[in-house]
């Protein structure tokens, strides 16, 4: 897990990005997929520059006012996108994923805990974020897009 936080993700240089109204369209030539990323997810990708470790990126994202769901999205999308978007693929086992899930909940600030975020994490696959039993729209939009990259 320490490895994951030190990892410095870098985007695949073949990707085509187009900005539109604070969101981003990304095209993956290898698969022919086009996805829509919301502002949070777009910011995540902008931090995948090959020089910013995941831990630093999470801190930067939090400092910019990202909410808990986006923090998780930030950290997890890095692994979700690893197969097609990143130059250097990273691998997370199901055990690491579970451990990561537990650690994240432990480190939630008290101010965020009452929001009752529940996160379902599966090994590098689907991520669902709930708020009081409802899917969080902002995070979910991005998550849906990110899920499209899973093989």
């Amino acid at each position: 897990m320490r490895y994951f936080f030190r990892f410095m993700p870098k985007l695949n240089s073949n990707l085509v990005f187009v900005d539109i109204e604070n969101s981003m369209i990304v095209y993956v030539p290898e698969t022919g997929r086009i996805s829509l990323l919301n502002p949070q997810a777009s910011r995540v990708l902008s931090l995948c520059d090959g020089r910013t470790p995941v831990s630093t990126a999470i801190d930067m994202f939090a400092a910019e006012g990202g909410v808990a769901a986006d923090l998780i999205l930030m950290s997890y999308s890095v692994s979700s996108l690893r197969k097609e978007l990143l130059n250097t693929p990273i691998r997370i086992t199901s055990r690491e994923s579970a451990s990561y899930n537990r650690r994240f909940f432990r480190f939630f600030p008290d101010s965020i805990k009452p929001c009752k975020h529940v996160l379902e994490l599966q090994s590098g696959a689907a991520v669902r974020t709930y708020f009081d039993g409802r899917l969080i729209c902002t995070a979910n939009t991005a998550l849906q897009s990110l899920r499209m990259f899973e093989s």
Binding site: V16, V18, I20, S23, I25, G32, I34, L36
Partner: protein
């Protein structure tokens, strides 16, 4: 009428297209969402025919690709339903795209404004290209930004067509 699918040389999307008051309305979508059905109703309401299948795009403009209208029926297969007379067909020139409507069959007739990013995503999915370039996406972005973008859930094609016309004639983006 233009013959054959020569989309290798242009930027084509899988979309129906009509011209109303000199501006183009495009209806991108997969087969079966009702492009041809709605196009027929729009023609009945006075629109000029461009295509029920392909739209060639460039710089915020669309070029007609008039061909006989075909409908895919589960029982009868792919069959020609109508060959519009030439007086119904839009002239072969570039038209500014003013409205992009993504139709889908549903249980009621309603039109909702689609956010531009979502519209670009859907339009990108309709692009008939093996490899999409930045120029392709920028072209689609220009069309999305200059047009009214809506999603139409339709049950009655006549009502659906009416809603499309209302959307295209109403002001605002």
């Amino acid at each position: 009428m233009r013959d054959g699918y020569t989309y290798q040389c242009g930027r084509y999307i899988h979309s129906a297209c009509v011209v109303l008051d000199g501006e183009a309305i495009i209806l991108p979508g997969e087969s079966g969402v009702g492009k041809t059905t709605l196009t027929l109703k729009l023609l009945g309401a006075g629109a000029k025919y461009c295509s029920d299948e392909l739209a060639e795009l460039d710089g915020g403009l669309v070029y007609p690709y008039p061909k006989p209208l075909y409908i895919r029926s589960p029982k009868l297969g792919y069959r020609r339903v109508f060959s519009p007379p030439l007086s119904w067909v839009a002239p072969l020139k570039w038209f500014r795209v003013s409205t992009v409507v993504f139709p889908r069959r549903g249980s009621k007739d309603r039109l909702r404004v689609l956010p531009k990013p979502e519209a670009l995503l859907l339009l990108g999915g309709s692009l008939l290209r093996e490899k999409v370039s930045r120029e392709d996406l920028e072209c689609l972005k220009q069309i999305v930004l200059q047009s009214k973008t809506c999603e139409l859930e339709w049950l009655d094609p006549a009502l659906g067509a009416q809603k499309i016309i209302e959307a295209s004639t109403k002001g605002g983006g």
